[in-house]
Symmetry: D2
Subunit: 378 residues, 4 copies
């Protein structure tokens, strides 16, 4: 029987649900030496925390995150708060010797991120950032193919993350559900929220980025603020696009926006190599498109691979061929990898250190958006 690993979660929003679901499911599908136990959830609003705990089976509610961190019966702190609280919580948790799972982006900026990475390393605690898309089986398969050299020399990388939910000027900013529009809570707009995912995947698949040139825009410049009740300037980037050069000589374009009518969460990437190419799309996350130049000439074509077979990453754990999994499963896989990493003493990626690299690219992108210059990634 697996040994318990006690989770203390801070925050109870969308990500709180996704993580809690993963903790519940992981031992049903993966054979693991550890089993997460939902020990406590922490949030300022006691009634909401209580309701969340009831729904998800948390054993207790803890209103003060500092107290949660001090509790002896907590092994892991899971940070699901807005971005502006990541640093303070992480530093305290590291000091208290807790393992830390932190929502993405790691921090408000790379300065904070560097502090956090140093802190967990100094404390020697297991740590991971929830860049969950690495664990979509199709994306993991892409990684495997690239590592095996199936694409050969890489020429191009392109990624977009397109949404359309903030087009209305009536949408307010700030507060519980809309902190992502409030620069004080989020640090940035689409760059930290969406491009950070694209960058994390890209660094993982294609290595480091040398430099970028970016363009940002805030289409709606004032919105009512839910915390002040007043119309306030909007400080975030509504849209951001950038060009990049990777260390391996490949060229890239990245774009993200919340003003692309018709797209809800269209994260796509494509990578073109000498021998083959790969495409993936979050709206059909259970498929991978693959072009193999070594196929016979007249029969070359993009293959739409339905990633539901037992020989696809993670898929032997689920159902039978043809039956797709969804978004939430990427979190289950990430928990499984984290637990296996603990058992085998192998850190599961991305660690805080890994995620700091993404933060540096975000910083360079935002700086380039301000200065209209190419910026070297720090």
């Amino acid at each position: 029987m697996p040994k318990p690993l006690n989770i203390g979660m801070i925050g109870y929003g969308f990500m709180g649900r996704a993580h809690s679901n993963a903790y519940h499911k992981v031992n049903h599908f993966f054979d693991l030496q550890l089993q997460p136990v939902l020990k406590a959830v922490c949030a300022r609003d006691a009634a909401k925390a209580r309701a969340f705990a009831d729904t998800w089976g948390y054993e207790s509610v803890e209103p003060d995150w500092r107290k949660l961190i001090e509790r002896k019966d907590i092994d892991v702190i899971d940070i699901c708060t807005p971005n502006n609280l990541h640093r303070e919580i992480a530093l305290a948790a590291a000091q208290a010797g807790k393992m830390i799972l932190c929502e993405k982006p790691l921090a408000m900026n790379s300065k904070e991120g560097a502090e956090m990475a140093a802190a967990v390393e100094k404390a020697g605690v297991a740590n991971m950032v929830w860049y969950n898309y690495r664990r979509v089986p199709a994306v993991t398969l892409a990684k495997n193919l690239i590592d095996e050299g199936r694409l050969g020399r890489i020429f191009h990388y392109r990624a977009v993350f397109l949404q359309d939910w903030t087009i209305s000027t009536d949408l307010p900013q700030g507060g519980l559900a809309l902190w992502r529009l409030d620069v004080a809570a989020a640090g940035s707009g689409v760059t930290g929220d969406l491009l950070a995912h694209c960058i994390d995947t890209a660094l993982w698949l294609n290595g480091g980025i040398d430099r970028v040139t970016a363009m940002t825009e805030t289409f709606v410049q004032e919105r009512k603020h839910n915390l002040t009740g007043k119309v306030e300037p909007v400080g975030i980037d509504d849209a951001c696009a950038f060009l990049a050069r990777f260390k391996n000589g490949s060229l890239a374009t990245f774009e993200s926006t919340r003003y692309a009518r018709g797209h809800k969460a269209l994260y796509t990437f494509e990578i073109n190599g000498e021998k083959g190419s790969i495409q993936w799309d979050l709206h059909d996350l259970h498929r991978l498109s693959y072009f193999d130049h070594r196929d016979e000439g007249r029969l070359r074509g993009w293959r739409s691979i339905h990633i539901t077979d037992g020989d696809h990453p993670y898929m032997s754990k689920w159902w039978v061929p043809g039956l797709q999994i969804g978004y939430e499963h990427s979190f289950v896989h990430q928990v499984a990898d984290f637990l296996n990493g603990l058992a085998n003493n192998q850190p599961a990626s991305p660690t805080f250190r890994d995620a700091l690299e993404t933060q540096k690219v975000c910083d360079a992108v935002l700086e380039s958006g301000r200065t209209a210059q190419w910026v070297e990634v720090g």
Copy 2:
């Protein structure tokens, strides 16, 4: 807090996992008055039952299904056995006053099915058959659109369920994982396994079928039998196609096979009406294709609707727009509907009585396959 509803499950295979997962998840996502409690799992192989119970958190193991049915602490019997055991278990469970959730197809044939429907009605126990695809949100939306008259008069229905997993002649028949190839356990081949799904959906969306003409084939006529160890004749239909006329005057084609290379579980249906058409595909179950003839002429086209919005059936319970759910969620929805049905005293469909209609069509199809005549649905 919801009241417990004690589940006793018989069988622990693929469907046992799908149901258990649904019981675990349903209260995390749906606000319900009842909560399934995994009280006992029953299977002849004690070690396997024990392992299954440990993985899924069943409180006890019960080797004899008759004892399970007698237990006072069991409210619901969930039948996940091969088809040839459905009838006996269901009759006993009904007599014991248990609610019954039965895997599809309801029975080996409509004679058995009629007995079972009569038994649960006589006993006055809640009953439902796991035709889970009705609860895929895209399929439910299709039902809503048809009921609203968005398609107008229906002219055509076509459905296929294509697989390719039994092409190899080396595949044996019979035993635990392969009872679906053994006519003694399954009753039929693709007709009861796959076409039954297609028929259930079709009856639900398009009403009753008057008559059919069918063609069946067994491509591999002998396979080693896992229970006898000997090469035995194959008694199931490997492939089956039939033409049908619906009561509403529409024409239909149905086809199923396990010899369609390249398709794992490609259940698709299309329905053409005077005002519009609908297509759905299990390989991308989170999408619905819809053609609306009332759109402006030059702008008419098939819409690919990404069924992940809050105004799509069931989807407000899950994540945010753009983030897809998968196969397993259809079972969660079915459990939610069953529990809500209990709370509201509204039977959740398909009941045994509903599923009997599918059984009658299957019987007519198989008879037509034998006689090469059009057969009226009984």
Copy 3:
């Protein structure tokens, strides 16, 4: 320089345009020993024939098809009339020793077709039927792959031809543009018009059909007739579906209708073999979908092959890779093959004899529609 081959065309409708365009273009793109010369067009309505001749560059107009056949300066008679005139014209043309290109279907029924095939063979004149879809490069490639054994043993064939242009009850029947709805001129409805295409392709790709069972329907049973001005019964089949067994042991479903809302000319076929599968779709005729089971397991997927490369059939004659051709090019290819066949003394398929086989299947299908019995193909 190529030698002239003088064409006399009878009829000037949609097919007259498609053929004339092909005659004009073929020598621009194919290196041939013969060049079609548009010598005369024949039609009862002199003004319309004149206008057609002016537009397309026919040297003369001939109101009486019998005179056209007698003309010494005509080498080839191209029959583009309604179906009920094919036989008479073809018999006369054969007797006059003319080569004959006949629009599909060959005849009103297989009795007529047999007469016609016998006549051209007796006369020893080159003959061909315009089943143009064989010459869509993707379809030709499918034929090549099957002949090479890339699919292995064939299990399944399925084809549909779906349209939606006759749903309105206000549409009249008969006369120039609508003779296809008039059973006296067309012989049948979708069976001869659309399924004939599907059957021709199927016989070519998959060999002979043993027997069929069919279902036909006329959804709109009375329409105003353009020739009589009165509401008349509709004699054609609006929809037809049938099951078939091929001589090679494979099973098939075929369906055609003009009541499938949302589809304009959706001719699709799929063929499943032991080693691979193929799909094609007239709405994207420049693509072929191909599944190769010999691909590495985790990388298997349907390939969407963009049939625009120089090593695809016919495509070296056109543009450069990536640039698609369209519907009309299939006729150009058919003319090119016919001219090459003449030069090499190799009959280009489908000959009248080949097309008679399709006619026999159509007859069996229509008979089965009437009798509700399986019918052996004559």
Copy 4:
């Protein structure tokens, strides 16, 4: 009967074929007051010019383009030469009072382009540049929708033109078929060849561009030169990506490469507006994807519009609904529009003046590629 318009074509390569085909076909399908007559083709290689003239029916061959321009029987000079000859020929033709149809890009750079635009305007001769993709019916429909305000305020434009034909280092540069790789003949690489198409469409659909920042790359830096026989530096850009800001406030990304394995000629654009979005793709040029936010919420989806109906631009001239046209037809449409423009005294776009705007953007892009700065479009 239409009046003749005498064409003198200079060059006989890929574009010579595309134009000649268009001249031949246009009067078969469009009802026009003018009819192109293929009077003469001009090329230095007399034998090849002769063969081309024979194939395409040119009445004469003229080895010296200056003589062609002087000929009284020529009305229109069609420039199909490599880019480095456009200016000289155009200036001479304008001076001789000839109408001019010039292949794209207009010139080697905007300085040349400005001279050419001034020359044709001074001479008062009809002029047009072959940016043929404007006349793909789906693209024309996109233009119509935007002009009608169906998309509302535009937020985003993105375009790529992806090819993969120069990945091999063995491919030489220069000479007849490969002048596009020779900077002396082409002026630039993908920027003038492919991005020029993207920019022309973008300016047409979305208005002017204020400024750009670009990144260019030459992956293969030396290739054998067909004219010198020696390995020479490659002067063209193999790949180019740029960010842009349009005058209407929208943001754009553009990218082109000949190193995107798996793509032959994948020109795609997408435009996102407040009320709707549009996508188009050259690999399926007969389709337009359209998202209309005014559709009922739960039924919103991208519509795949099959652009083959009579109410789609240009399509009433061709076949029947469902039957697609191809690449070459865009040239036919452009000729038809040019001829109608002459008849109605309305210049057909893009004129030299229009195409100069594209040239200015190309210049700014290439300058930015060199300087790594944002560059204002001149």
